[in-house]
Symmetry: C2
Subunit: 244 residues, 2 copies
């Protein structure tokens, strides 16, 4: 009895940023699984994937809490993994095999929660065979929309969450060592990130991108033009020393 | 008279790793431009794009030298840009508008030569309007094939060419500061990279990937299993400390 789950990176916003392989995995799935932050109206990954789904395709939304409480998170990942295994197991019992697709914003293995769900599946439901279809990471799409090179020839790139990088000395040393520094999930860290970039004289070399490829996309080439409380969770800053 | 060029990232190997947007840009192009290393039999980006091209679609191969001589490179980029502008200008003179697509391995702005061609277009042929369709970078595809997380929650990732990272102290400090270190274009640097990783006790935490998604794909989870002269130019090593 074959039970397969394909994690499909749907990219950060524009539905056409999905890969052809991802599109096919969605089309061939018996069940679509979509993570959704608890309290949200909808799953953003599901919204992006929607144009590629059949109207009668079965969709299971998996609620995940927005918390840093590791025990609550682990419990939720186990529940989600159990739900996937249960639903696909039911399909396989009927038909002899089951194929699921789990939609993920951006790429399944570059941030995001799929890694944890996968760990929970490996531990408790090893009968579910997982494969991954890569997706366009948000910063790669942001660079494309802004026409901004990320790296050429011998250049170095660092990618890290902005929330942990409000320290001026730390960011200064990263900017010194790397040609491009990408700060993910800017959100509430924006005022601190901007203050550090201003102090480094890099504010006008930092491109801010929010909701790339979605309605309300915003690209700003000088972070000084932003309001303090403007940045949503799905925003990033690309700091580039320049030169090709 | 509208003259447009879309740089399309075709991903690192499997033709189905192209985005739906990229596939459409290829289908709608009057002319496909494909870079090719001088002396190579064919353009690898073109080979990957081929399943999405019409049999009668016009293809222009742009030879680019494999050299570090910056003056020869710049001359070649200018010739390539001139060729693109000339060919698309001819189409536009006939039809009133022209659409070209330039195929790029991986993503157009993450390594690769498109950035240079684009600079040459901006300088000498500003009538050519360029847009970029992002592609799956090779390391993102390699992680998907290997089932290896690149980053979770608060983790940091560094991406850099292996050729410049044969120094043990430097690589040790990168591995200390980053959860994941991705060494691109391993090629002839393999013996030195492996020696450094062995000295750091990280050889068995370093996944080697070559020709991902292509015939001859190789994934090796311990770099000690590799021969010295084995790594082609299109290979990479993902060093991951572990933990999610």
């Amino acid at each position: 009895m074959s039970v397969r789950l394909t994690a499909v990176g749907v990219g950060p916003g524009d539905p056409e940023w999905i890969t052809v392989k991802g599109q096919r995995a969605l089309a061939g799935a018996d069940v679509i699984f979509a993570p959704c932050s608890e309290g949200s109206e909808e799953s953003l990954a599901l919204r992006i994937a929607r144009p590629w789904l059949r109207t009668d395709q079965r969709v299971e939304v998996l609620p995940l809490p927005m918390t840093r409480d590791r025990r609550r998170l682990e419990a939720a990942w186990q529940v989600a993994a159990g739900r996937i295994a249960h639903v696909l197991g039911g399909v396989a019992a009927d038909r002899g095999s089951a194929r699921g697709a789990y939609v993920v914003l951006g790429d399944p293995l570059f941030y995001g929660t799929f890694t944890y769900i996968w760990d929970a599946l490996k531990q408790a439901h090893p009968e579910v065979q997982v494969e991954v279809v890569p997706g366009i990471p948000s910063f790669v799409a942001a660079a494309a929309r802004a026409g901004l090179p990320l790296a050429t020839t011998s250049q170095r790139v660092a990618v890290l969450p902005a929330t942990y990088e409000a320290d001026q000395q730390e960011l200064a040393s990263l900017v010194a060592a790397f040609d491009t520094v990408i700060l993910m999930k800017v959100g509430r860290a924006l005022p601190r990130v901007r203050a550090v970039l201003e102090a480094l004289g890099m504010a006008d070399r930092a491109v801010y991108a929010a909701h790339v490829g979605l309605p309300g996309e915003r690209l700003v080439r000088d972070v000084r033009a932003l309001e303090d409380d403007e940045a949503p969770y799905l925003s990033l800053v690309i700091v580039r020393k320049g030169g090709t």
